[in-house]
Symmetry: C2
Subunit: 352 residues, 2 copies
């Protein structure tokens, strides 16, 4: 039986309709910050946990139970599709994605064959199905993928980077090879998110986490085309498409023209400023995660400020301006959820 | 004998006057990226090298000789003043500033006594004097200090941070204690830069490297007052005051109201966009340092693009959008300097 989420506050806000309450969820809400997650998981690779539907479904649901957030976000990783097609990538605890043989030559394109979801990521499909069965009809499930540039940055750099020298050299020096790489990663993201939608995901977020390392020109020339391809391919699926990156203040107006329905904003850009740059798109964000460590008075003030500024957009999904940190106190996140739910609509109406 | 630098291109551009050539220097031009630096220095603490005027003067001059840049920047570190008053801080190779006992309580203010330049940093004064003796009259010497927020972030976090949770908690929860801390650090920066000017420095740059981690509201409430205090104190000294931080796109219009004469811009904000936000200030920047690894064709295109966009400002000092990286090829930097010097004025005029 297909569930109907017509009344889900998260989806209403994504469509620019009036939600019954201000929706809230947190990027990286599932995972290391939760004691019930640490109790469930051993010390193995996160990719092993993701490949076990009973574990990953449970981990996806943990923050929904604890916080009462308006959306679950699939417990997965942006490198899952490239891992699944055998590119040779692992996620090393405390370090992040590490690639045995970084992408460097045209012949490396062959290592990025098309994804066959039923064969390559049956576990993701099963996880989505399990989660959807458990969620009530007011709670959405957000599937996701990495945007081509951000995934490419790991493949080319060989791991996490702060300078992105190799991936920038590749895009500038070999723009045709770069376009082919980005195109293959777009195809992987399309197949990966498509399978999640088929299995029941209600929305898709594309994480272009490191897009903020690019200048606007670079973003437009090298990152946007493949991102647009993903957005276009998902357009007919009828689920909201969210696009998010960190440090993207200069890119917001470009991101708003990719076809994304909702734009995620980090904490650096106040949402009323973002609205001016973005125009007629609902926004997602953007409480500074660092403030979760500053006590309830500070958290409450900052949460209300985000709500007031978010009221400038045609829809607002409350979130942090970046992912939950591993050492964050779950009680502080619960405090935010309760405040957003009890005061959100009232504060937003007063601010309008 | 006091030198007159009336014709120095760097100073002309800082004053919004027409320079004889487009001036260029690089943040972190002195140091690890140069083989002659690595040959000169042992493996000890950088603070020991800074404390030796013969070494630090030589290191300051090395990039001037190699590149023919229009300004030397003092080989020093933003933690020198807090180190000199005995706060208990060291710079650990490969890690950065590390504080034995981080700042946490009101009593820690006592650990930040006033700086007595002649006693505490006689070696800095001697270094400046040695460098000024060696520089010709077209080459300026830039002195510098860390802006109070950025220095405070090290003292409170205990070392480099990517999340700034402790310093943000302090400023929000104990704004009065924070203001006292920032004020003491402003006094240290004033004494530190004042001594450099007394000894012959021609300009001062205030590095607020991590200001970009703050929201505009946080910057205005918590970082600006102490920065303004420094700028005000230097106003009567008649040397250009440059203010720079990374990821400051949302802060540029605020930074332009601190009293700074010149605003440094990172590579994320094209200089013509920065001009619109900043108004009537010369700009410094902003070639993406990552592109230095992408070969001469890419470097040349990007350099010319920066020059064209920089022509929108009432003055432009060419620089990178961030510091020189240790593994950067000095030949690539030399290539940039030569291109800026030979083509800069022509390209800028055509763009105007």
């Amino acid at each position: 039986m297909t569930k109907t989420l017509a009344t889900a506050p998260f989806l209403a806000a994504c469509r620019g309709e009036e939600p019954s309450r201000l929706p809230v969820w947190f990027m990286r809400q599932a995972g290391r910050s939760l004691p019930e997650y640490r109790a469930l998981r051993g010390s193995g690779s996160i990719l092993d946990a993701i490949a076990d539907p009973s574990i990953s479904a449970e981990v996806t649901l943990q923050p929904v139970r604890r916080y009462g957030v308006d959306a679950a976000v699939l417990f997965s990783d942006i490198v899952v599709p490239v891992h699944a097609v055998g590119f040779g990538i692992d996620v090393v605890p405390g370090r992040g994605p590490v690639v045995e043989q970084p992408f460097a030559h045209e012949r490396d394109l062959e290592r990025l064959r098309p994804l066959n979801p039923e064969q390559d990521i049956a576990y993701v499909i099963e996880t989505v199905e399990k989660v959807v069965e458990e969620l009530d009809e007011t709670t959405a499930l957000i599937g996701f993928a990495g945007a081509p540039f951000t995934v490419a940055s790991y493949l080319v750099e060989g791991g996490p980077s702060r300078t992105f020298t190799k991936v920038k050299a590749l895009m500038h020096r070999e723009p045709e090879l770069w376009a082919q790489l980005a195109d293959r990663l777009a195809d992987l993201a399309i197949a990966f998110t498509g399978a999640q939608i088929d299995a029941g995901a209600d929305a898709i977020q594309l994480f272009d986490s490191w897009a903020g390392s690019l200048s606007p020109d670079e973003y437009q020339r090298f990152a946007m085309p493949a991102t647009i391809k993903v957005m276009d391919a998902l357009a007919s699926r009828g689920v909201p498409r969210i696009l998010f990156g960190v440090g993207t203040g200069e890119l917001l107006s470009l991101m708003a023209t990719t076809g994304a329905d909702v734009i995620g904003v980090d904490w650096r850009v106040p949402l009323d400023v973002a609205t001016k740059r973005i125009g007629n798109h609902p926004l997602q964000g953007n409480l500074d995660p660092a403030l979760l460590f500053a006590g309830e008075t500070v958290i409450a003030d900052a949460t209300r400020d985000v709500i007031r500024r978010g009221a400038s957009a045609p829809g607002h999904i409350f979130n942090l301006g970046h992912g939950v940190m591993p050492d964050m106190d779950p009680d502080a996140l619960k405090f935010v959820v309760d405040l957003v739910h009890t005061e959100g609509v009232t504060i937003a109406k007063e601010a309008q």
